[in-house]
Amino acid sequence: MDNRRPLFGYFWAVAAAVLGTLIGLAMTPRFDIVNIAMVYLLAVVVVALRFSRGAAILSAVLCVAAFDFMFVPPQGVFTINDVQYLLTFAIMLAVALVISGLLDKGRSEAGARAALAIEAETERIRSALLASISHDLRTPLSVLTGASSTLAEGGDRLDPQQRIALARSIYGQAQHLSDQVDKVLQMTRLEAGAIALDRDWASLVEIAGSVLNRLSDRLSGHRLIVEIPSDLPLLRVDAPLIEQVLGNLLDNAARHTPPGTVVVLRAEHLANEVIVSVEDCGPGLDERDMDRLFAKFNRGASEATGGGAGLGLAICRAIVTLHGGRMSAEPNPGGGLVFRFTLPVEQAPRPPVEAEEA
C-alpha cells in the first residue's frame, strides 16, 4: 500500500501490463487465450492490492488494451471479432474497481480507528486532569469557604487565637491553591509549546543559593549537604525555570522523607554537560511508582494530600528537555531516591578584563 507515492503506482500499472504481455507471449501458443487473460487479471489484482484506485484502473485499461492488441484475434489491431472478449474486459475492470474499493474502505476504517484511539486517550487525560484539578482545588476551596465564613459570621464570638488560626489556614490554603493553578497553567503552556526559553548566562551556584534561601524553612528539618564545585562553568539557561526545577526537587525531597534525614544537592561538570542531582534517604518508591514518577497527574499512592496535582515532576522534565538536557530518577543505593538532570555546557564568552590600579 503506497498511497503517498501515486506516480509509483502508475509506473507499476504500466510495468504490470508489460510483464503480463511478456508472460502471455511466452505462453502462446501452448496455452489457451483464456489463461493469458488470467495472467492479465492477476497483474490487475496485484496492482489494485498494492496501489491506489487510479493505478488499478490504469492497469485494468492497459491490460485490456494489451490483451486485445496482442492476443485477441485479429491480433495487431484494437478491433474485436468475438463479443465474449468484451465480457473479459468488463470483468478485469470490475475486479480492479472492487479490490481497490475494498482496500480504500479498509484504509479509512483503520484511520477512523486510530482517530478514535487518540480521542479516547485525550479523553482519558482530560478526565484525569479534571479529577485531579477538582480534588486539588476543592480541598483548599472548602477550607477557604469554611474558615472565612466562620470569621465573617461568628468572628466576634471567637477568641483572638482562634481567629488567627483560621486566618492562617485561609492564608496557607490560598497559597497552596495559587501554586496549583500556576502548575496547571504552566504545564498547559509547556505542552502547547508556548514557553520560549529566555536564555542567558547564569551561575548554578547562584541559582542554588537562591533556592536554598527560599526553601530554608522547608529544609530546616533535614540535614542538607551541598556539593557544588566553585569552578563550575556558567550555563546558558532560563535561570528562573532552572531555579523552579531545583526548587521542586528539593521541596519533594524535604516533603517525602522523614525529618533529620540527609538530602544531598550535587553538581558536577562532565564532558560537555553539567549533571545536577538531588539525593534523599527517604523510603524510596517501589518499581511501579518509579515508572510513573514523571507521568502527569500521578500522585504517589501513599500521598493523600498536598500532591500538587502530580504535575511538578512532569513540569521539571519538560523544562529540562526544553533546555536540551535529560532528567531521570533512580533508587538511591543506600535507600531513597536520586533525581538527576543534565544541562548542556556551551563555550562561555570571554570574561571581562580589568586593569588593576596601582
Partner: protein, 231 residues
C-alpha cells in the same frame, strides 16, 4: 521622616485588593490615597505628592508602566510594582520604566510591608548620605575605598567597588541586570550578563561568610541583584 507617617499612593483597579491594602496600610499607620485607574493615579501622584507609590501593572485605561514613567519624569519617589504577570519579562520592563521593587500577585501582606519599609528607609537614607556599609563581618567604605572582613583588610578591585556602589545606591531593593551592567561597565555592555555572574561570585567569595548562601548579595533570579545591609 518617621516611616509611619508616610503617605502611600495605591493605584489598583480591583476594589477587593484595594480594600485589604488600605486596611493593612492604615493599620500600620500609613496615610493612604487610592486610585482605581492610571489616569487618576497620575493626577493623585501629582496632587498628593505621596512618599511612595504602589502601582498595579494591569490597569483598565493605560498600562501601569505608563504611570511609572509619568511619575519618574518629575519624582524619585520609591515605586513598588504589583504584578500578576509572573514571568520575569514583565518585571524587567517595570524596572526599565523606573520601578524600584516588585511584588507578584498573589502576595502576603507581610512581604509587601517588608518591601515597603525597605523602600521608605532607603528614601530616608539617601538624603542623609553615605556611611560605611555593614555586611555581616565585612565593612565596605565606598568613600575611602576600603574593605575589611573580620577586622582584616580585603582587597577589592575598582570594578568591585563600583558594583557595590551601584547596589548600595538602591540598598535593599532590586537593581536590574541591565542597570548594573550599564552603570558599571557602560551602555555597550548591557547584554553581558556573564560579567555580573563572575563579579558577583568574586564579591561573595571575598565578603560573604558562606558564598553559597549569601546573606547580603542576594540573587533575584532572572531579574537582578539586591544588596541587603545590616542596620
Amino acid at each position: 521622616m518617621a516611616e509611619s507617617l508616610a503617605t502611600i499612593l495605591v493605584v489598583e483597579d480591583d476594589g477587593e485588593i484595594r480594600r485589604f491594602l488600605c486596611s493593612a496600610l492604615g493599620a500600620e499607620g500609613y496615610k493612604v490615597v487610592e486610585s482605581a485607574n492610571a489616569r487618576r493615579g497620575a493626577i493623585d501622584a501629582a496632587t498628593h505628592k505621596p512618599d511612595l507609590a504602589i502601582v498595579d501593572l494591569g490597569l483598565p485605561d493605560f498600562d501601569g508602566l505608563e504611570v511609572i514613567r509619568g511619575i519618574r519624569k518629575w519624582s524619585p519617589m520609591p515605586i513598588l510594582v504589583l504584578s500578576a504577570r509572573s514571568r520575569e519579562h514583565a518585571k524587567i520592563e517595570a524596572f526599565d520604566a523606573g520601578a524600584d521593587d516588585y511584588v507578584t500577585k498573589p502576595f502576603g501582606i507581610g512581604e509587601l510591608l517588608a518591601r515597603l519599609r525597605v523602600a521608605l528607609r532607603h528614601r530616608a537614607r539617601s538624603t542623609t548620605g553615605g556611611v560605611a556599609l555593614k555586611l555581616g563581618g565585612a565593612i565596605v567604605d565606598l568613600e575611602a575605598r576600603r574593605a575589611t572582613r573580620d577586622g582584616s583588610e580585603i582587597h577589592l578591585t575598582p570594578i568591585e567597588f563600583r558594583l557595590i556602589g551601584c547596589l548600595a545606591k538602591h540598598a535593599g531593593m532590586v537593581v536590574a541586570h541591565k542597570q548594573l551592567l550599564g552603570e558599571v561597565w557602560g551602555p555597550t555592555h548591557q547584554g553581558d550578563t556573564h560579567y555580573l555572574r563572575i563579579y558577583m561570585k568574586q564579591l561573595r567569595d571575598k565578603l560573604e561568610a558562606d558564598p553559597l548562601r549569601p546573606r547580603h548579595f542576594i540573587t533575584e533570579t532572572g531579574i537582578g541583584y539586591r544588596l541587603v545591609c545590616d542596620e
